[in-house]
């Protein structure tokens, strides 16, 4: 009898608000996709039950369970080596959650779990800007700041799977307090809340007029739109953000010597308002032998698609498993 090759996997993207799940084939075509609200399930058991039922329904409508090879899950604070979600500051479930094991037991399929930066890097490597690169860094800029770096064509996970936490490297000794409990973390300056904080500081520093003063709830996106309208203070917000991010990335690159750094996530949509000052500060602070050699790219994949595609690439990384064999 000829062995059958399974040509589809399920990619799951768990984010603070929504959980997206999709069936993806070998070439990265999304066959079917659906989502539900993450925060409706504050109990992890309810969440896993809902997730597995949803996946089963989607799969049964689209080729059946036997066509699926494995499942890849992207989750904030996910650890690939243990398959757990560890001490997530943003998700409703606290402590150490063995998500991969829980889902595998309900689904009878192999499950891989990894954090969003790791998954984004896999997505970029398999289907995006990093295709064909061996040494590169993907930085995810959103409500948090994470990263993943590829060494010799495969991801560097570190001794216990926590590598990549560039958001929690100290850029300003005793600077702003970060959600992680430390002070002066890069994330407290270059992720969403940090950018808003910088805007607030700038507004408090002077009496200069700015359109930002009329916005009730400032967001990085609103600030970027004001940049488009020529608001100088808004431009200054991204200039300061870019300066600090540029130092952080230059130090990262001096150690890794990557071919490229790929920026992904919501904040990266600020475009050249952010990338110009980042590049300037980066070239000033990077090791001289690398000056002008490292490409700074902004991801071209759609944010939600990238995470689901990355999760599907993750699913291919783990060995097949079945309850029925």
């Amino acid at each position: 009898m000829e062995d059958e090759t399974k040509s589809r996997v399920v990619g799951v993207d768990i984010s603070k608000e929504l959980t997206t799940y999709a069936i993806v084939d070998i070439r990265g075509n999304i066959i079917a996709e659906n989502r539900f609200v993450t925060t409706d399930y504050p109990d992890i058991n309810d969440f896993v039950t809902k997730l597995s039922e949803s996946i089963v329904m989607l799969v049964e409508e689209n080729g059946g369970l036997f066509s699926i090879r494995s499942i890849g899950v992207s989750s904030p604070s996910g650890n690939f080596l243990t398959g757990s979600v560890v001490n997530s500051p943003n998700l409703p479930w606290k402590g150490d959650i063995p998500l991969a094991a829980m889902l595998r037991d309900r689904m009878g399929l192999a499950v891989g779990v990894a954090n969003d930066a790791h998954v984004a890097a896999l997505g970029e490597h398999t289907y995006g800007s990093a295709h064909g690169m061996k040494d590169f860094i993907v930085v995810t800029l959103g409500s948090g700041l994470g990263s993943c770096f590829f060494s010799n064509g495969s991801e560097h996970r570190g001794f216990s799977g926590f590598a990549g936490e560039v958001g929690h490297t100290c850029v300003i000794d005793h600077g702003r307090r970060c959600g992680c409990g430390k002070e002066g973390c890069l994330e407290a300056y270059a992720a969403a809340q940090g950018i808003v904080k910088t805007a607030e500081e700038l507004m408090a520093e002077s009496d200069k007029p700015s359109l930002m003063r009329q916005v009730e709830h400032l967001t990085p996106r609103a600030i970027a739109e004001l940049c488009q309208q020529g608001d100088e203070m808004a431009i200054e917000v991204y200039r300061r953000t870019g300066y600090i991010l540029g130092i952080g990335l230059a130090n990262y690159a001096s150690i890794v010597n990557p071919q490229a750094i790929i920026l992904a996530g919501g904040i990266s949509h600020a475009g050249h308002w952010l990338t110009d000052p980042v590049r300037e500060s980066f070239e000033t602070h990077v090791f001289q032998n690398l000056r002008g050699k490292v490409k700074l790219l902004v991801s071209k994949l759609n944010d939600r698609e990238r995470d689901v595609l990355g999760a599907s690439a993750l699913a291919w990384e783990i060995p097949e498993y079945s309850l029925f064999k």
Partner: protein
């Protein structure tokens, strides 16, 4: 068919600022024979390559003969493994890009590989030293300059162009001390030998407090350590400040790469606990909490004279065998 003969020896070469050392090393890391000559006598690279080649030939003929040697590995500051070149070395007499591996291979007829001292020491520690059995670790060299090598999944991470590991030229203090590389505030301007001496001079200039360090014209690291042993508060403060800067940088390094251990090598490490204690305190304070308390601080236990030779010999095993005569 003739039975293939396996070669069990390599030559390790350590090119230092003052001396170049060569050694014949067997598979288990035993140094069978050793020789050296002054590096600075040969400011012309062609002369240097010829002398090095002659020196190696003489040495291997005295220890089992040329046919027993598999390959040559070289440890050299600013060496780039990917290209086999010595690139823009600030300290060596040869300027620009020097294709050292190719030059030596053409003269000696054996495969030659070349790496910078951090890369080579990482291989040495992994093969024969403190990092044996570790898959993810970071080797730190602290001496005249500061370098590092990150080992990822058991393999040294070299980067796209082979320049990875330049922790010494990461920005530690924006707008800080002018570094020889052209940038300001590089880490090595605070943590290398000269950086530590500069910190001492700054402290001495800042106050009139008495200190044993005022009694000498030229401050050296070993003298400052003596001062610490004698309880000199200002000397102890110098190492506290150095440790703070170093600890913060290592915490950032570890947060990004999640290593199992740091392995420290180099002449600054003779400062021992005076430096390591404040370093580790600051490190624990700043490292990402999921890995706090989980990163080991190891000091190399290899002999200073052997460390680079053993590493260079380990590097020699990494390259394909090559012979002019086949």
């Amino acid at each position: 068919m003739a039975q293939g003969k396996i070669k069990t020896r390599v030559v390790g070469v350590d090119i230092g600022l003052e001396r170049t050392t060569t050694a014949v090393v067997d598979i288990r890391g035993n140094i069978l024979g050793k020789d050296d000559f002054p590096t600075s006598d040969y400011p012309n690279i062609s002369d240097f390559a010829s002398v090095l080649c002659d020196n190696i030939i003489t040495l291997v003929q005295a220890h089992g003969g040329y046919e027993t040697i598999r390959a040559v590995g070289i440890s050299v500051p600013s060496g780039n493994y990917r290209t086999g070149c010595v690139v823009n070395s600030p300290n060596m007499p040869w300027k620009g890009v020097v294709p050292m591996a190719a030059m030596l291979r053409d003269r000696i007829g054996l495969a030659v590989s070349l790496g910078n001292n951090a890369h080579v020491r990482a291989l040495g520690e992994q093969t024969y030293g403190a990092a044996h059995g570790l898959k993810d670790f970071i080797l730190i060299t602290l001496g005249t300059g500061m370098g590092s090598c990150l080992v990822s999944n058991g393999v040294p991470h070299l980067g796209q162009d082979g320049f990875a590991g330049e922790i010494g030229h990461c920005c530690a203090v924006p707008g800080g001390r002018q570094c020889g590389c052209g940038k300001k505030g590089c880490l090595e301007m605070y943590t290398s030998k000269k950086g530590i001496v500069m910190t001492a001079q700054e402290l001495l200039a800042d106050s009139d407090a008495p200190s044993l360090m005022r009694e000498v014209d030229t401050l050296t690291l070993s003298y400052m350590i003596d001062c610490c042993e004698k309880g000199d508060e200002m000397a102890i403060e110098v190492f506290n400040r150095t440790g703070k800067t170093l600890g913060l940088a290592l915490a950032n390094y570890a947060s990004v790469f999640n290593p199992e251990a740091f392995v420290f090598t180099g002449s600054v490490m003779c400062a021992g606990e005076w430096l390591l204690k404040p370093t580790e305190e600051t490190f624990q304070e700043h490292v990402f909490r999921n890995i706090a308390g989980r990163v080991k601080f190891l000091s190399s236990e290899l002999e200073k004279e052997e460390m680079d030779l053993l590493g260079a010999s380990a590097l020699a095993w990494e390259v394909e065998e090559y012979s002019l005569f086949k």
